[in-house]
């Protein structure tokens, strides 16, 4: 303890290794491209769940509007791809060639100003990071400086998700409306619809995910991570120890927003369209469930939780389409009642002790692991 806390604990290194093995080797080798693309779609949500672990698990700020940020990232990417797909040659049958098809259908004759920056890939990628951060900063500053928290904050974020959905649907000519932005084709001339592109995009996504995981682990191990925990527990004590509690909450919220936005941008690339159905209240709540199932205190749990829930969702809705909603509800109740710390909690309680006993010669790692029993990742389902 007298030394600096190690950058990553031993169990986290193992967790990273196991996850890398699963995502980089096992899944790509054992799944066909259709199934792998499904995994890629699931993984885009795990960015959101990861953000929620920091914001909700550590910071105690429950946001029921993460779909907003997922959507912002997704739309930023979709706007770029749509503009590229709407070149003058591709759209010469339109009354105004060179603008997205849905604008033409809505009698819009000129590209709106806020679409202009999305001609550039660099600016679009920048927007994926900056726009959600600014948006989250504004919401966070307005709420946390006024000491709005807990349930009230959750309700307000939910309202924002509803408002954004209504806005997107209502402003059809500018946003593509309820259908979203569809028929996306190429990224800088590279066709993203082919199997090989999907394969490559999968690995790009895994790389981004590991980037975000490392950022999350860094935050967790910094003093900021401990301040978030302290704030969740005794907000006043932190405030009267000389910290501006609001600023730390804003940071956690912004970070979770940027993670969600990266996930959204990758979703657009993987799936090939973006629509308001990923922005509203229902998807936002589903994202919270992913984090809850994985274990809201577990950085790795976020990834496994998202994959397990989405896998269950896909397989159940393939066989019993009507039953899925009930199963989803039952799953959430079961997790909250039986495993309040999610899969990671169950892992730490039942599986980790078994492993420790098997390798009991390694006494040291046991003591490191038991220091933060809640915060350790679950290295497998």
């Amino acid at each position: 303890m007298t030394a600096n806390p190690r950058f990553f604990s031993r169990s986290e290194l193992v967790g990273l290794g196991v996850l890398a093995l699963l995502l980089v080797v096992i899944l790509p080798m054992s799944l066909d491209i259709f199934r792998l693309n499904l995994v890629a779609k699931y993984l885009t949500y795990s960015f959101v769940a990861l953000g929620l672990v920091i914001c909700w698990g550590y910071g105690g700020i429950l946001s029921l509007g993460q779909g907003v940020f997922f959507g912002i990232g997704g739309y930023c990417m979709a706007m770029f791809l749509k503009l590229e797909a709407s070149s003058v040659e591709n759209t010469k049958i339109q009354s105004t060639p060179g603008i997205p098809d849905f604008m033409d259908w809505n009698q819009i004759t000129q590209l709106p100003l806020f679409w202009q920056p999305f001609h550039s890939l660099t600016l679009s990628i920048l927007a994926v990071f900056v726009v959600p951060a600014i948006f989250a900063f504004i919401i966070g500053a307005a709420m946390f400086k006024r000491r709005v928290g807990g349930v009230y904050f959750a309700i307000i974020t939910q309202a924002i998700a509803a408002i954004l959905t209504i806005l997107i649907v209502g402003q059809q000519g500018y946003t593509g409306g309820i259908n979203g932005i569809t028929d996306l084709r190429t990224l800088h001339g590279w066709d993203i619809r082919t199997d090989s592109a999907k394969f490559i995009l999968y690995f790009v996504e895994v790389a981004c995910l590991f980037g975000c995981l490392l950022v999350a682990l860094f935050v967790k191990h910094s003093k900021l991570g401990r301040i978030l925990l302290a704030m969740r527990d005794k907000e006043d004590r932190v405030r009267f120890s000389g910290y501006s509690v609001a600023n730390f909450k804003i940071f956690a919220f912004c970070l979770s927003a940027v993670f969600a936005s990266i996930g959204g941008a990758l979703f657009t690339l993987e799936v090939g369209f973006m629509s308001p159905s990923f922005v509203g209240i229902v998807p936002s709540i589903e994202m919270v469930i992913y984090a809850a199932v994985g274990g809201r205190m577990s950085i790795f749990g976020a990834v496994y939780g998202t994959m397990v829930v989405n896998y269950a969702k896909t397989s159940l809705s393939e066989s019993f389409p009507e039953l899925w909603q009930f199963a989803f509800g039952a799953l959430f109740i079961a997790v909250v009642m039986l495993f309040p710390n999610g899969l990671a909690g169950a892992w730490n309680e039942y599986v980790q002790p078994l492993i420790d006993r098997t390798f009991s010669r390694n006494k040291r790692s046991t003591s490191v692991a038991s220091e933060h029993p809640l915060a350790n990742g679950a290295p497998a389902e």
Binding site: K223, D236, F240, N247
Partner: protein, 251 residues
């Protein structure tokens, strides 16, 4: 009295302080002055406004009128964290510690460095931090419990830990709200010993009910009653004040 006219030897000057909650004046036109290195104890019956006074000084409650100056700075206009940075530390009535963190981490968070978001991200646990944490842990009798989760401490140890968290901030004015409440006799004696040691080179404002403890540590006592000062002076003087005996010490 205008700011600047006050004699500079007062560390804390509370002037005509009033706070009203929907018309109820919890603190009513209160004035008192605390010197450098003075230990001032506030006593009074329940609901006299003792904790509210501390809340007002540390910024938890905003004053309706009046002023609080600390080293010439007007505290009523500062945010809570700015008041801490100015050198005011406050301990809460119930032990306020972080259950999910270890004793070491509890103390480390209170170490006065890296208090901004960026500072907290880049904060390094260097030798100076470790040394100071260990030094304070020894003072608060928790040196052998540094790696223990704080939620496993006893009530008395939690109180000490919070006192330690204040010590590590090294405030010029330390405010303690019932530091020995709920402690066993031996813990109480140890706490008195601890307080005697830590009050050197700083001013302390204490709320306490335990009269033996008050007598032991106080330089000056304020008796608060219904938001006003009933009596002020040495413990001897206050104890023999008929008004005080009637409302407080009598029963």
């Amino acid at each position: 009295m205008e700011i600047g006219q006050q004699p500079p030897d007062f560390l804390l000057a509370v002037d005509a302080l009033t706070v009203s909650f929907d018309g109820f004046k919890a603190v009513n036109d209160l004035s008192f002055y605390v010197d450098e290195n003075e230990i001032r104890v506030i006593i009074g019956p329940n609901g006299a406004g003792k904790t509210t006074v501390l809340d007002l000084i540390c910024g938890k409650t905003k004053a309706t009128s009046g002023s609080i100056t600390f080293r010439g700075k007007e505290l009523t206009k500062l945010s809570e964290n700015a008041i801490v940075h100015a050198g005011v530390g406050r301990k809460f009535q119930t032990p306020s510690i972080y259950d999910d963190l270890t004793v070491f981490e509890n103390l480390e968070i209170s170490y006065p460095r890296g208090r901004s978001v960026f500072g907290a991200l880049t904060f390094k646990r260097d030798a100076a931090v470790t040394e100071r944490v260990e030094e304070v842990a020894e003072m608060i009798f928790l040196k052998d419990r540094l790696n223990m989760s704080a939620q496993l401490l006893s009530h008395g140890q939690k109180q000490w830990l919070e006192i330690g968290m204040l010590l590590i901030q090294d405030p010029e004015l330390l405010m303690l709200d019932e530091p020995v409440a709920g402690m066993s006799v031996s813990e109480r004696a140890k706490t008195a010993e601890l307080l005697h040691r830590i009050i050197k080179n700083r001013s302390v404002l204490v709320i306490e009910h335990d009269m033996k403890f008050v007598e032991d540590i106080a330089h000056k006592v304020i008796v608060l009653h219904q938001g006003k000062i009933l009596s002020e002076g040495s413990m001897e003087k206050v104890k023999n004040d008929p008004k005080v005996i009637e409302v407080y010490l009598g029963h």
